[in-house]
Amino acid sequence: MKKVRFKVDELESDIFKIAGLEATVGEFYEEWEEAIGPTPMPDISTFREWDRILLNRYKPFYLPFCDLCCLCTMGKCDLSKGKRGACGLDMAAQQSRIVLLACAIGAATHAGHGRHMVKELVSKLGKDHPLDIGSSVLIEAPHSRLITGIKPKTLGDLEDILDYAETEISQLLSCCHTGQEGDNLDFESKAFHAGMIDHLALEVSDLAQISALNFPKADPEAPLVDIGIGSIDTSKPVILVIGHNVPPAAAIFDYMEDSGLEDNIELTGICCTALDLTRYTKKAKIAGPLSHQLRFVRSGIADVIVVDEQCIRTDILEEAKKVNAPLISTNYKNFQGLPNRTDDPTDEIVRDLVGGRSPGVVILDSDKAGEVATRVAMGVFPKRKKSGIIPEESEIIEYAKKCTKCLSCQRVCPNYVPLPEAMEAAAKGNLQPLSDLYESCIGCGRCEAEGVCPNDLKLHTIIIGASKSKMKDEKFKIRSGRGAIQDSEIRAVGASIVMGEIPGVIGIVGCSNYPGSWKDNAFIIEEFLKRRFIVTTSGCAAMNLGMYKNEEGLSLYEAYPGVFDGGSLVNCGSCVSNAHISGAAIKIASIFARRKLNSNYEEIADYIYNRVGAVGISWGAMSQKAAAIASGFWRLGIPVIVGPHGSKYRRALLGRKDKDEDWYSIDARTGKSVYTGPAPEHLFIAVETKEEAMTLIPKLSMRPNDTTKGRSIKINHYIDLHKRFYGIVPDDIPLFVRTTADIPITMKDEILKILKEKDWKESEVPTPDPTLLSRLVRKKEG
C-alpha cells in the first residue's frame, strides 16, 4: 500500500494491453476479493465521454456576473455579445472556467483539510491505526473503492488516496491558467472531475475522524444534542470554536475533562467544527451555522474564540477585539497576522492572553491549544463579564432616529431586506420589524461596511439587539452526525428506492446563505418527511433543520427517526459527511444491485442516474466547497437544486423536455434506442421560491427505471404539490406518464382527460433496462 501511484501507473498502462491484470497488482489488492474494474485512479480524460453524455443532455446555460474577464494582465477583456478576450477565450468558456475554478478550490479545500487532519491523527496514533466506521458497514469507503480501487484499512492508507486526489486537483487547477483549455464543455467535464475528487476527499476526512476520534459509527440513534444560542449557559466561561477541523476542539474537551472542568465550562461552536464536536462529546453545544458567527461573537458570550479552517470570518480578529475575547488560531490556513506561539511555554501564552498583552496567538499544536483555550477561558471569564456590543432597546431607538432612509444598507444587502422601513418603525419605538429580519439576515455585515451608512449605524448589530429575546429562545435539539449508512439499511430499502416505491432520497446540504428565513429549510423538508421520502442532511443545512419546532414543539430530529428509511431524517454529520450521502447511492448500486464497485465509476453512475431517485438540494449554497460537492453529485447522475443565490455559480445544467430527441436511452436488454422521457429533467438548477423547489423535488426524483407503481407515486406527489402551489395540474404530465398504469389511481379520470387532449401515446417500452453506456448492452440489435 505504500507506493500506490507507482503501481497505478502500471495499471493504467497495462489494463488495456495485457490479460491477467490482477497478477500484476500483487499485494495491493490481496484484501479485496473483487476484481479490478476498468478505471482505477482515473485522470482528467478518463470520464470525458461519460461527462459528454450528461452534458449533451443537460446543456450549460451560462449566467455571467459581468461582461468582463479580469484574470490576467492582458485584460480586462469584454466577452459580451460573442466577443473573445485577448487570450482567445469566449464567454461560455470563461464562465465554465469559473465553474471549474470554484469546484477545484472546493475540492482542494476538502483535500487540504483531509491531509491536515490525517497527518495529525497519524502522528498521534500511527499509520497503522485501523479504520472503523461501524461493524455494520462492510463497504466502508465506497468512493475510495469506486474511484481509486483502494480498500483502505488504516489511517496510512488514506494518505495514499490523498496523494492521488492532490495530483488530480493540481492538474485541474492548472487547466484554469491562461492559455490552457478553450472549450466550455471540456471545462465542464473537468469541473465534474473536481467534484468526483471532492467526494473522495470528503470520504477520507470523515473516515479518519470517525475512526480516530470515535464518533458515532453509522448509528441511527446518535444522541440528540443542544443547538441554539439560548442553550448556552452564560453563567459559565464559554469557549467558542469555529471552522471545520475538529481535532483542536476535541483537544479542548480532553483537557477540560482531564482537569475536571467539563461541567464548569461551556464548549460551543459554529459551523462544522461544532457539528463534529457533538460527534465527539454530547456535552458540546452548537451555537449555530455560519450565519450566526457575527451575532454570536458580538453578543460577548464567548470568553475565548478558537478558529481552525474554512468558513471563518476573515475579520474574526477585529470582531474578537471588539468584545475583548482572545483569539487562538490553530491552523496555518488562517494565521490572521498573529504571532506563532506554538513553541512558547504554555504559561507564558496564557498569561499574555489573559492579561490582554496580546489579542491572539497561533498555536499549531492541538493539545497545547486545548490547554491554553481552557485556561484562558477560566482566566478572562471574571474580567470580561460577558461584555458584548449588542445595543439595548433604548439605544436602538436613538440610533433609528438618525436613519435618513437613504436605502444604502438595503442596496448592499444580499437579500435586500427592508432595513430602512424597519428603522423607521424603530424610531417610533416599534422594534418588531427589525426583529422580523433576524431569521432572513445571513450575518454578512455588508450593511455595516465602511461608507455604506452615512451615519455609520451598525445595522447588523441593531438587528441583533432588537432580537435578543429570539436569541435567548433559541433552544433546540439536533441529532448528532451518525456517519455512514449501514449496509443492512441499504439492503432493506434498496428495492423500494430503485422501484420507486420510496419516492425519493433527498440530500439537503450546504451553507446558510438563504434567500429568506432559515426556517424555509425545515418548511421544505417537513413536507417530504410526511410524504415518506428519505431525507439525508449535513453541515449548516442540518443545523438549520434543527432550529425549528413543529406544531408539537419538537424539532424535526425529535419528531422523525434517524434511520435510513422512508419518512426519516438522517443527519450524517458535517460537510465532509456528504460523502456518506453520495456513498449511499453508490452502495445501493453495489449492495442491492450487486454492480461491481472496484474502479467501475461509469457503470455505477449510470446505474444511479437511471434508477436511484436521489435529489440534492442546497437552499443556502454559498461556497466553492458547495460547488464541488454539487459537482460530485452531477457526475454520479444526481440532480441538484440550489436556492436563488445559487444562480451566482454562473451556470445551470438544464434539460430540454420539449426536445424529444434528447431523451433516448439504450435498452440494455436489446440494445435498442428507447424514449425514456425527461427523467430527471435537470442536473443543476437554481430556483427562486421554496414552493418552486418543493414542486421540483418529486419531479427530479423520477427515473427511467421506475416501476409503474413507483412512477405513479412520484407523479402523485408532483401533481399534488403543483396543484397546491401553482393552482393547476402541471402541463408536462404527459411526458412522465409512460403507460396508463403510471397514473395515480385517484387522479385517473383527470389525467386521462389531459392525456387525450395532448394526443398522448403509450410508450412502446415503458419500463426498459435503461443505460446510457452502450458497452452495458447485453444483446446487440441484429
Binding site: 446555460f61 455571467p64 459581468c66 469584454d78 455579445k81 442596496r411 444580499p414 443565490h645 427562486e688 402551489f725
Partner: protein
C-alpha cells in the same frame, strides 16, 4: 434615482441598459416587435401597488396585445386567481435558457422571440439571467426590464423607481397599449 444597479455591487461591464425615461417608449418597442413575450416572476405577485399588484397591469397589457405570458416560480397561481391563464409556466432558468435558442418560441411557431419584457424575478437572479441573454441571445433578442429597479444587462430598463412611480409607469404602458 440615477440609473445604476439597485443592488450596489451588481456591476455589469461596459454595456449598460438604456434607461426608459418615458414609459410610452415600451408601447413603441412592443409595436415594432414581431414576436414579443412577457416574463413574470414571483415578486410581481408580492408587491402592493395600492390594492393591486404588477400582475394586474401585466394582465391588462397581455389582454390588449395577445402577447404570451410566461410565469416563473409559482406565479401561475396568482394569474389563475384573476381568471387569466398564462401561455406557459417554467423556472426562470428554463425561460432564460430557451430564449437563447433561436428555434424556440412559447407557441412553437414563428421562432424566435425578438423582444422579452421581464419583471418580477428576484433582482440578482434576473441580473444574471439577463446577462446570459445579453451574451447568448444577442443575435435575435432584445430585452426590456419592467422591474421597479434598474437592470443593467437588459437592452432597456426602467430606472430605480419608487412604488408610486413604478405603478404610474406600468399604468401608462397599459393605457398606451389599450389605446391602440
Amino acid at each position: 434615482m440615477a440609473a445604476e444597479p439597485w443592488q450596489r455591487y451588481e456591476i455589469p461591464g461596459p454595456i449598460k441598459a438604456a434607461v426608459i425615461k418615458n414609459p410610452e417608449m415600451v408601447s413603441i418597442l412592443l409595436k415594432k416587435a414581431k414576436k414579443p413575450v412577457l416574463i413574470v416572476g414571483h415578486e410581481a405577485a408580492e408587491i402592493d401597488l395600492g390594492g393591486k399588484t404588477p400582475i394586474d397591469h401585466i394582465i391588462r397589457i397581455a389582454r390588449a396585445t395577445n402577447i404570451p405570458v410566461v410565469t416563473t416560480a409559482h406565479t401561475m397561481a396568482e394569474f389563475l386567481k384573476r381568471d387569466f391563464k398564462p401561455a406557459a409556466s417554467m423556472t426562470s432558468m428554463d425561460i432564460g435558457n430557451r430564449l437563447t435558442d433561436p428555434e424556440w418560441s412559447v407557441s412553437g411557431e414563428d421562432a424566435p422571440h425578438d423582444l422579452a419584457l421581464i419583471l418580477g424575478m428576484t433582482y440578482y437572479v434576473g441580473f444574471v439571467i439577463e446577462a446570459g441573454l445579453k451574451s447568448f441571445a444577442f443575435n435575435h433578442l432584445k430585452t426590456v426590464s419592467l422591474d421597479r429597479y434598474y437592470q443593467p444587462h437588459c437592452n432597456w430598463s426602467f430606472p430605480n423607481l419608487s412604488i408610486e412611480e413604478w405603478d404610474r409607469y406600468l399604468t401608462i404602458i397599459a393605457q398606451e397599449i389599450e389605446k391602440k
